[in-house]
Protein backbone atom coordinates (compact mmCIF):
# COMPACT_ATOMS: atom_id res chain seq x y z
CA UNK A 1 0.00 0.00 0.00
CA UNK A 2 2.94 2.27 0.83
CA UNK A 3 4.26 1.93 -2.72
CA UNK A 4 0.87 2.36 -4.42
CA UNK A 5 1.74 5.83 -5.65
CA UNK A 6 5.11 4.67 -6.92
CA UNK A 7 3.37 1.92 -8.87
CA UNK A 8 0.90 4.49 -10.22
CA UNK A 9 3.74 6.77 -11.39
CA UNK A 10 5.52 3.81 -12.97
CA UNK A 11 2.41 2.66 -14.84
CA UNK A 12 1.58 6.22 -15.95
CA UNK A 13 5.14 6.96 -17.10
CA UNK A 14 5.13 3.82 -19.24
CA UNK A 15 1.60 3.83 -20.57
CA UNK A 16 0.87 7.52 -21.23
CA UNK A 17 3.61 8.03 -23.88
CA UNK A 18 2.56 4.72 -25.43
CA UNK A 19 -1.07 5.85 -25.63
CA UNK A 20 0.03 9.18 -27.18
CA UNK A 21 2.11 7.33 -29.78
CA UNK A 22 -0.64 4.89 -30.67
CA UNK A 23 -3.26 7.65 -30.77
CA UNK A 24 -1.08 9.62 -33.20
CA UNK A 25 -1.25 6.61 -35.53
CA UNK A 26 -5.00 6.15 -35.02
CA UNK A 27 -5.80 9.76 -36.00
CA UNK A 28 -4.21 9.04 -39.39
CA UNK A 29 -6.60 6.20 -40.17
CA UNK A 30 -9.32 6.89 -42.74
CA UNK A 31 -12.65 8.20 -41.39
CA UNK A 32 -14.54 7.02 -39.37
CA UNK A 33 -11.77 4.86 -37.87
CA UNK A 34 -9.74 7.97 -36.97
CA UNK A 35 -12.37 8.52 -34.28
CA UNK A 36 -11.13 5.62 -32.17
CA UNK A 37 -10.21 7.26 -28.87
CA UNK A 38 -7.45 5.31 -27.21
CA UNK A 39 -7.53 7.49 -24.04
CA UNK A 40 -11.21 6.59 -23.58
CA UNK A 41 -10.49 2.89 -24.11
CA UNK A 42 -7.53 2.98 -21.71
CA UNK A 43 -9.52 4.84 -19.05
CA UNK A 44 -12.54 2.54 -19.39
CA UNK A 45 -10.46 -0.60 -18.99
CA UNK A 46 -8.35 1.08 -16.31
CA UNK A 47 -11.46 1.87 -14.30
CA UNK A 48 -12.72 -1.70 -14.62
CA UNK A 49 -9.34 -3.06 -13.52
CA UNK A 50 -8.43 -0.61 -10.73
CA UNK A 51 -11.94 0.36 -9.56
CA UNK A 52 -10.23 3.13 -7.65
CA UNK A 53 -10.20 6.93 -7.62
CA UNK A 54 -6.58 6.81 -8.71
CA UNK A 55 -7.89 6.54 -12.28
CA UNK A 56 -8.91 10.21 -12.07
CA UNK A 57 -5.27 11.22 -11.40
CA UNK A 58 -4.22 8.94 -14.22
CA UNK A 59 -6.74 10.72 -16.48
CA UNK A 60 -5.29 14.07 -15.39
CA UNK A 61 -1.76 12.95 -16.32
CA UNK A 62 -2.94 11.53 -19.64
CA UNK A 63 -4.98 14.56 -20.68
CA UNK A 64 -2.30 17.01 -19.47
CA UNK A 65 0.09 15.43 -21.95
CA UNK A 66 -2.53 14.95 -24.65
CA UNK A 67 -3.28 18.68 -24.40
CA UNK A 68 0.24 19.48 -25.66
CA UNK A 69 -0.76 18.04 -29.02
CA UNK A 70 -4.01 19.89 -29.62
CA UNK A 71 -4.72 23.27 -31.21
CA UNK A 72 -7.08 24.45 -28.45
CA UNK A 73 -5.86 26.62 -25.53
CA UNK A 74 -4.01 24.54 -22.95
CA UNK A 75 -6.31 23.27 -20.23
CA UNK A 76 -9.47 22.66 -22.24
CA UNK A 77 -8.79 18.98 -22.95
CA UNK A 78 -7.24 18.55 -19.49
CA UNK A 79 -10.32 19.90 -17.70
CA UNK A 80 -12.82 18.15 -19.97
CA UNK A 81 -11.10 14.78 -19.69
CA UNK A 82 -10.43 14.82 -15.96
CA UNK A 83 -13.87 16.12 -15.01
CA UNK A 84 -15.47 13.52 -17.29
CA UNK A 85 -13.52 10.81 -15.50
CA UNK A 86 -14.56 12.25 -12.14
CA UNK A 87 -18.25 12.06 -13.11
CA UNK A 88 -17.86 8.58 -14.59
CA UNK A 89 -16.18 7.12 -11.52
CA UNK A 90 -19.05 8.42 -9.43
CA UNK A 91 -21.54 6.91 -11.89
CA UNK A 92 -19.64 3.65 -11.89
CA UNK A 93 -19.75 3.39 -8.12
CA UNK A 94 -23.31 4.62 -7.68
CA UNK A 95 -25.19 3.50 -10.79
CA UNK A 96 -23.32 0.93 -12.87
CA UNK A 97 -21.83 -0.95 -9.86
CA UNK A 98 -21.10 -3.95 -11.99
CA UNK A 99 -18.65 -5.38 -14.43
CA UNK A 100 -19.09 -7.22 -17.66
CA UNK A 101 -19.59 -6.39 -21.31
CA UNK A 102 -22.47 -4.01 -20.61
CA UNK A 103 -20.52 -2.19 -17.90
CA UNK A 104 -17.54 -1.79 -20.26
CA UNK A 105 -19.82 -0.38 -22.94
CA UNK A 106 -21.55 1.97 -20.49
CA UNK A 107 -18.27 3.21 -19.04
CA UNK A 108 -16.81 3.90 -22.51
CA UNK A 109 -20.04 5.59 -23.60
CA UNK A 110 -20.26 7.81 -20.52
CA UNK A 111 -16.58 8.82 -20.64
CA UNK A 112 -16.95 9.79 -24.32
CA UNK A 113 -20.23 11.60 -23.68
CA UNK A 114 -19.09 13.59 -20.66
CA UNK A 115 -15.73 14.40 -22.25
CA UNK A 116 -17.46 15.71 -25.37
CA UNK A 117 -20.02 17.58 -23.28
CA UNK A 118 -17.41 19.34 -21.12
CA UNK A 119 -15.24 19.92 -24.20
CA UNK A 120 -18.13 21.57 -26.08
CA UNK A 121 -19.10 23.65 -23.05
CA UNK A 122 -15.47 24.72 -22.62
CA UNK A 123 -15.20 25.69 -26.28
CA UNK A 124 -18.49 27.56 -26.11
CA UNK A 125 -17.27 29.44 -23.03
CA UNK A 126 -13.90 30.25 -24.57
CA UNK A 127 -15.51 31.41 -27.81
CA UNK A 128 -17.20 34.16 -25.80
CA UNK A 129 -13.88 35.56 -24.58
CA UNK A 130 -11.48 34.84 -27.45
CA UNK A 131 -11.63 34.80 -31.26
CA UNK A 132 -9.19 31.91 -31.53
CA UNK A 133 -11.78 29.34 -30.47
CA UNK A 134 -15.15 28.80 -32.11
CA UNK A 135 -18.00 26.54 -31.10
CA UNK A 136 -17.72 23.47 -33.31
CA UNK A 137 -21.47 22.95 -33.92
CA UNK A 138 -22.26 20.24 -36.47
CA UNK A 139 -18.64 19.06 -36.67
CA UNK A 140 -18.72 18.38 -32.93
CA UNK A 141 -21.94 16.37 -33.16
CA UNK A 142 -20.67 14.19 -36.01
CA UNK A 143 -17.36 13.61 -34.20
CA UNK A 144 -19.20 12.66 -31.01
CA UNK A 145 -21.51 10.19 -32.79
CA UNK A 146 -18.60 8.67 -34.73
CA UNK A 147 -16.52 8.40 -31.56
CA UNK A 148 -19.29 6.60 -29.70
CA UNK A 149 -20.03 4.26 -32.62
CA UNK A 150 -16.36 3.33 -33.03
CA UNK A 151 -14.83 3.57 -29.54
CA UNK A 152 -17.54 1.73 -27.57
CA UNK A 153 -17.45 -1.48 -29.68
CA UNK A 154 -13.63 -1.46 -29.67
CA UNK A 155 -13.65 -1.11 -25.86
CA UNK A 156 -16.10 -4.00 -25.53
CA UNK A 157 -14.02 -6.14 -27.86
CA UNK A 158 -10.85 -5.42 -25.88
CA UNK A 159 -12.71 -6.08 -22.64
CA UNK A 160 -13.83 -9.51 -23.86
CA UNK A 161 -10.25 -10.37 -24.86
CA UNK A 162 -8.67 -8.98 -21.68
CA UNK A 163 -11.27 -10.61 -19.40
CA UNK A 164 -9.86 -13.98 -20.48
CA UNK A 165 -6.38 -12.88 -19.44
CA UNK A 166 -6.95 -10.67 -16.39
CA UNK A 167 -8.98 -12.34 -13.61
CA UNK A 168 -10.05 -9.02 -12.08
CA UNK A 169 -12.02 -8.21 -15.25
CA UNK A 170 -14.12 -11.39 -15.08
CA UNK A 171 -17.81 -10.95 -14.30
CA UNK A 172 -17.57 -13.47 -11.48
CA UNK A 173 -14.80 -11.54 -9.73
CA UNK A 174 -16.03 -9.81 -6.58
CA UNK A 175 -14.62 -6.64 -5.13
CA UNK A 176 -15.26 -4.55 -2.03
CA UNK A 177 -17.46 -1.56 -2.77
CA UNK A 178 -16.45 1.71 -1.16
CA UNK A 179 -19.76 3.42 -1.80
CA UNK A 180 -21.31 2.70 1.57
CA UNK A 181 -18.11 2.81 3.57
Amino acid sequence: MKYRWLLFIFVAALSVPLILGLQSILVLLPAPFNNISLPVIALSLGLLIWKSGVIVWYAAALFAMLDWYTATPYGLVLYAGTLAMLVVIWLYRAVITNQGVLAAALVAFTITSFFQLFYALGRAGLSLVTDTVVFPGAAWLSTYVAQVLITVPVTVLLYVVLARLIPVLKVTHTHRSTLYG
Binding site: V16, P17, L18, L20, G21, L22, Q23, S24, I25, V27, L28, N34, N35, S37, G53, V56, A60, A64, M65, L66, W68, Y69, T70, A71, T72, P73, Y74, G75, V77, L78, Y79, T82, L83, L86, W90, T132, V133, V134, P136, A139, W140, T143, A146, Q147
Partner: protein
Protein backbone atom coordinates in the same frame (compact mmCIF):
# COMPACT_ATOMS: atom_id res chain seq x y z
CA UNK B 1 -18.28 19.04 3.55
CA UNK B 2 -18.43 15.49 2.21
CA UNK B 3 -15.37 13.59 1.02
CA UNK B 4 -16.64 13.57 -2.58
CA UNK B 5 -17.00 17.37 -2.68
CA UNK B 6 -13.57 17.82 -1.08
CA UNK B 7 -11.94 15.47 -3.59
CA UNK B 8 -13.71 17.19 -6.50
CA UNK B 9 -12.55 20.62 -5.32
CA UNK B 10 -9.03 19.27 -4.80
CA UNK B 11 -8.91 17.90 -8.33
CA UNK B 12 -10.28 21.11 -9.85
CA UNK B 13 -7.71 23.05 -7.81
CA UNK B 14 -4.83 20.84 -8.96
CA UNK B 15 -5.93 21.19 -12.60
CA UNK B 16 -6.08 24.98 -12.16
CA UNK B 17 -2.59 24.89 -10.68
CA UNK B 18 -1.26 22.82 -13.61
CA UNK B 19 -2.75 25.24 -16.15
CA UNK B 20 -1.68 28.34 -14.18
CA UNK B 21 1.91 27.14 -13.71
CA UNK B 22 2.14 26.25 -17.39
CA UNK B 23 0.81 29.63 -18.51
CA UNK B 24 3.31 31.33 -16.19
CA UNK B 25 6.10 29.20 -17.70
CA UNK B 26 7.12 27.48 -14.46
CA UNK B 27 6.62 23.98 -15.85
CA UNK B 28 8.72 24.57 -18.96
CA UNK B 29 11.66 22.51 -17.72
CA UNK B 30 9.43 19.60 -16.74
CA UNK B 31 7.48 19.78 -19.97
CA UNK B 32 10.60 19.88 -22.13
CA UNK B 33 11.97 16.83 -20.36
CA UNK B 34 8.72 14.91 -20.84
CA UNK B 35 8.30 16.11 -24.41
CA UNK B 36 11.80 14.95 -25.30
CA UNK B 37 10.30 11.48 -24.96
CA UNK B 38 6.71 12.00 -26.12
CA UNK B 39 7.67 14.10 -29.17
CA UNK B 40 9.95 11.31 -30.34
CA UNK B 41 7.20 8.73 -29.92
CA UNK B 42 4.63 10.89 -31.73
CA UNK B 43 7.13 11.68 -34.52
CA UNK B 44 8.10 8.02 -34.90
CA UNK B 45 4.43 7.05 -35.03
CA UNK B 46 3.71 9.67 -37.71
CA UNK B 47 6.75 8.79 -39.78
CA UNK B 48 5.97 5.08 -39.79
CA UNK B 49 2.36 5.74 -40.73
CA UNK B 50 0.92 5.61 -44.20
CA UNK B 51 0.55 9.37 -44.45
CA UNK B 52 4.24 10.00 -44.07
CA UNK B 53 5.08 7.15 -46.41
CA UNK B 54 2.90 8.81 -49.01
CA UNK B 55 4.90 12.01 -48.84
CA UNK B 56 6.68 12.97 -52.01
CA UNK B 57 10.13 13.21 -50.48
CA UNK B 58 10.05 9.75 -48.97
CA UNK B 59 8.54 8.32 -52.13
CA UNK B 60 11.36 9.84 -54.14
CA UNK B 61 13.99 8.39 -51.80
CA UNK B 62 12.39 4.94 -51.70
CA UNK B 63 12.02 4.86 -55.47
CA UNK B 64 15.55 6.07 -55.95
CA UNK B 65 16.88 3.20 -53.85
CA UNK B 66 15.39 0.58 -56.18
CA UNK B 67 16.06 2.12 -59.58
CA UNK B 68 19.04 2.05 -61.92
CA UNK B 69 21.69 4.76 -61.71
CA UNK B 70 20.46 6.95 -64.59
CA UNK B 71 16.93 6.97 -63.23
CA UNK B 72 18.27 7.93 -59.80
CA UNK B 73 20.09 10.87 -61.39
CA UNK B 74 16.94 11.95 -63.21
CA UNK B 75 14.94 11.77 -59.97
CA UNK B 76 17.57 13.75 -58.09
CA UNK B 77 17.56 16.34 -60.87
CA UNK B 78 13.79 16.65 -60.56
CA UNK B 79 14.04 16.91 -56.78
CA UNK B 80 16.78 19.50 -57.12
CA UNK B 81 14.62 21.52 -59.51
CA UNK B 82 11.68 21.39 -57.05
CA UNK B 83 13.89 22.51 -54.16
CA UNK B 84 15.33 25.35 -56.28
CA UNK B 85 11.79 26.39 -57.16
CA UNK B 86 10.89 26.47 -53.45
CA UNK B 87 14.12 28.31 -52.66
CA UNK B 88 13.46 30.96 -55.32
CA UNK B 89 9.95 31.39 -54.03
CA UNK B 90 11.13 31.76 -50.45
CA UNK B 91 13.96 34.15 -51.47
CA UNK B 92 11.34 36.77 -52.29
CA UNK B 93 9.67 36.51 -48.91
CA UNK B 94 11.10 38.29 -45.87
CA UNK B 95 11.98 35.36 -43.59
CA UNK B 96 10.95 31.77 -43.26
CA UNK B 97 11.58 28.72 -41.11
CA UNK B 98 11.67 25.19 -42.46
CA UNK B 99 10.00 22.60 -40.27
CA UNK B 100 9.26 18.92 -40.27
CA UNK B 101 5.79 17.56 -39.58
CA UNK B 102 5.95 15.37 -36.49
CA UNK B 103 2.31 14.43 -36.12
CA UNK B 104 -1.35 15.31 -36.35
CA UNK B 105 -3.62 16.86 -33.77
CA UNK B 106 -4.71 14.16 -31.34
CA UNK B 107 -8.16 15.72 -31.19
CA UNK B 108 -10.19 14.16 -34.06
CA UNK B 109 -12.35 17.26 -34.23
CA UNK B 110 -9.51 19.39 -35.56
CA UNK B 111 -7.58 19.08 -38.82
CA UNK B 112 -4.20 20.27 -37.72
CA UNK B 113 -0.58 19.15 -37.85
CA UNK B 114 2.25 19.50 -35.36
CA UNK B 115 5.62 20.80 -36.60
CA UNK B 116 9.03 20.59 -34.94
CA UNK B 117 9.69 24.36 -34.78
CA UNK B 118 8.13 26.77 -32.32
CA UNK B 119 8.57 30.05 -30.49
CA UNK B 120 12.33 29.46 -30.19
CA UNK B 121 12.56 29.73 -34.00
CA UNK B 122 10.52 32.96 -34.05
CA UNK B 123 7.20 31.39 -35.04
CA UNK B 124 4.12 33.24 -33.85
CA UNK B 125 0.38 32.57 -34.09
CA UNK B 126 -1.36 33.18 -37.45
CA UNK B 127 1.83 32.93 -39.55
CA UNK B 128 1.16 31.33 -42.96
CA UNK B 129 2.54 27.87 -43.66
CA UNK B 130 3.41 26.67 -47.15
CA UNK B 131 4.78 23.68 -49.00
CA UNK B 132 6.53 23.49 -52.38
CA UNK B 133 6.36 26.53 -54.61
CA UNK B 134 4.20 28.67 -52.35
CA UNK B 135 1.25 26.33 -51.84
CA UNK B 136 -0.66 27.61 -48.84
CA UNK B 137 -1.67 24.85 -46.42
CA UNK B 138 -2.76 26.77 -43.33
CA UNK B 139 -1.86 29.05 -40.46
CA UNK B 140 -0.10 28.57 -37.15
CA UNK B 141 -2.76 28.07 -34.48
CA UNK B 142 -0.73 27.47 -31.33
CA UNK B 143 2.94 27.88 -30.50
CA UNK B 144 4.98 26.01 -27.90
CA UNK B 145 8.67 26.47 -27.19
CA UNK B 146 9.92 23.89 -29.68
CA UNK B 147 6.79 22.85 -31.55
CA UNK B 148 3.79 24.54 -33.15
CA UNK B 149 0.33 23.43 -34.22
CA UNK B 150 -0.69 24.39 -37.76
CA UNK B 151 -4.40 24.64 -38.58
CA UNK B 152 -4.87 23.26 -42.08
CA UNK B 153 -7.11 24.85 -44.71
CA UNK B 154 -9.63 22.04 -44.34
CA UNK B 155 -10.13 22.57 -40.58
CA UNK B 156 -13.63 23.68 -39.56
CA UNK B 157 -12.13 26.69 -37.80
CA UNK B 158 -9.93 27.75 -40.73
CA UNK B 159 -10.58 30.92 -42.73
CA UNK B 160 -8.34 32.99 -44.98
CA UNK B 161 -8.89 36.03 -47.19
CA UNK B 162 -8.56 34.98 -50.84
CA UNK B 163 -8.90 36.26 -54.38
CA UNK B 164 -9.82 34.45 -57.59
CA UNK B 165 -7.53 34.79 -60.61
CA UNK B 166 -10.47 35.85 -62.84
CA UNK B 167 -11.15 39.09 -64.72
CA UNK B 168 -12.75 40.83 -61.72
CA UNK B 169 -10.13 39.54 -59.25
CA UNK B 170 -13.05 38.48 -57.02
CA UNK B 171 -12.42 38.64 -53.30
CA UNK B 172 -13.79 36.12 -50.83
CA UNK B 173 -13.04 34.06 -47.76
CA UNK B 174 -11.83 30.47 -47.96
CA UNK B 175 -13.25 28.33 -45.17
CA UNK B 176 -12.74 24.70 -44.15
CA UNK B 177 -14.94 22.20 -42.38
CA UNK B 178 -16.17 20.27 -45.43
CA UNK B 179 -13.95 17.20 -45.43
CA UNK B 180 -11.06 17.35 -47.85
CA UNK B 181 -12.49 20.25 -49.85
CA UNK B 182 -12.68 23.91 -48.87
CA UNK B 183 -15.19 26.60 -49.76
CA UNK B 184 -14.76 30.10 -51.10
CA UNK B 185 -17.55 32.26 -49.68
CA UNK B 186 -18.71 35.87 -49.92
CA UNK B 187 -18.15 36.33 -53.66
CA UNK B 188 -20.55 38.96 -55.08
CA UNK B 189 -23.20 37.48 -57.42
CA UNK B 190 -22.31 39.74 -60.38
CA UNK B 191 -18.74 38.45 -60.65
CA UNK B 192 -17.94 35.60 -63.00
CA UNK B 193 -16.01 32.63 -61.66
CA UNK B 194 -15.72 29.28 -63.36
CA UNK B 195 -14.30 25.81 -62.62
CA UNK B 196 -10.55 25.74 -63.06
CA UNK B 197 -9.95 29.31 -61.87
CA UNK B 198 -7.00 29.56 -59.50
CA UNK B 199 -7.58 30.92 -55.99
CA UNK B 200 -4.73 32.65 -54.15
CA UNK B 201 -4.35 34.51 -50.86
CA UNK B 202 -5.47 38.10 -51.28
CA UNK B 203 -2.94 39.76 -48.99
CA UNK B 204 -5.78 41.58 -47.21
CA UNK B 205 -5.16 39.65 -44.01
CA UNK B 206 -2.41 40.75 -41.65
CA UNK B 207 0.69 38.58 -41.92
CA UNK B 208 -0.48 36.61 -44.97
CA UNK B 209 1.29 37.74 -48.17
CA UNK B 210 -0.60 37.95 -51.47
CA UNK B 211 -0.16 35.24 -54.06
CA UNK B 212 0.11 32.01 -52.07
CA UNK B 213 -1.70 29.34 -54.06
CA UNK B 214 -4.73 27.89 -52.26
CA UNK B 215 -6.47 25.78 -54.86
CA UNK B 216 -8.65 25.71 -57.96
CA UNK B 217 -12.39 26.14 -58.33
CA UNK B 218 -14.18 22.79 -58.71
CA UNK B 219 -17.85 23.79 -58.59
CA UNK B 220 -19.61 27.15 -58.45
CA UNK B 221 -22.80 27.35 -56.36
CA UNK B 222 -24.93 30.30 -57.38
CA UNK B 223 -28.36 30.86 -55.85
CA UNK B 224 -30.23 33.88 -57.27
CA UNK B 225 -31.97 34.69 -53.97
CA UNK B 226 -28.70 35.05 -52.08
CA UNK B 227 -26.39 38.07 -52.17
CA UNK B 228 -23.21 36.02 -52.52
CA UNK B 229 -22.15 33.00 -54.52
CA UNK B 230 -19.93 30.18 -53.25
CA UNK B 231 -17.36 27.93 -54.83
CA UNK B 232 -16.03 24.54 -53.79
CA UNK B 233 -12.25 24.44 -54.12
CA UNK B 234 -9.80 21.64 -54.55
CA UNK B 235 -6.70 22.52 -52.48
CA UNK B 236 -3.53 22.42 -54.58
CA UNK B 237 -1.38 20.98 -51.80
CA UNK B 238 -2.01 17.41 -50.67
CA UNK B 239 -3.08 18.07 -47.09
CA UNK B 240 -3.05 14.37 -46.24
CA UNK B 241 0.63 13.81 -47.01
CA UNK B 242 2.72 16.57 -45.49
CA UNK B 243 6.27 16.00 -44.37
CA UNK B 244 8.29 19.22 -44.75
CA UNK B 245 6.74 22.70 -44.58
CA UNK B 246 7.90 26.31 -44.36
CA UNK B 247 6.53 28.95 -42.02
CA UNK B 248 6.71 32.49 -43.41
CA UNK B 249 7.69 34.88 -40.61
Amino acid sequence: MSKTVRTTLLIIGVLGLIVGLRLAGYTRFLEQAARAVTDRIVRAAYQTSGAAAKSQALRAIETAQCLPEDTKIRLLEDENAALREQLFFLKDTARHVGAQVIGRDLDPLGTTIIIDQGAAAGITVNRPVIVGNGLFIGKVARVNETTAVVRLLSDFQSSVAATVANREKSLGVVEGGFGLTVRLNLIPQNELIKPGDAVITSGLEAGIPRGLMIGTVEVVEKKPQEPFQEAILNPTADLEALSVVSVIL
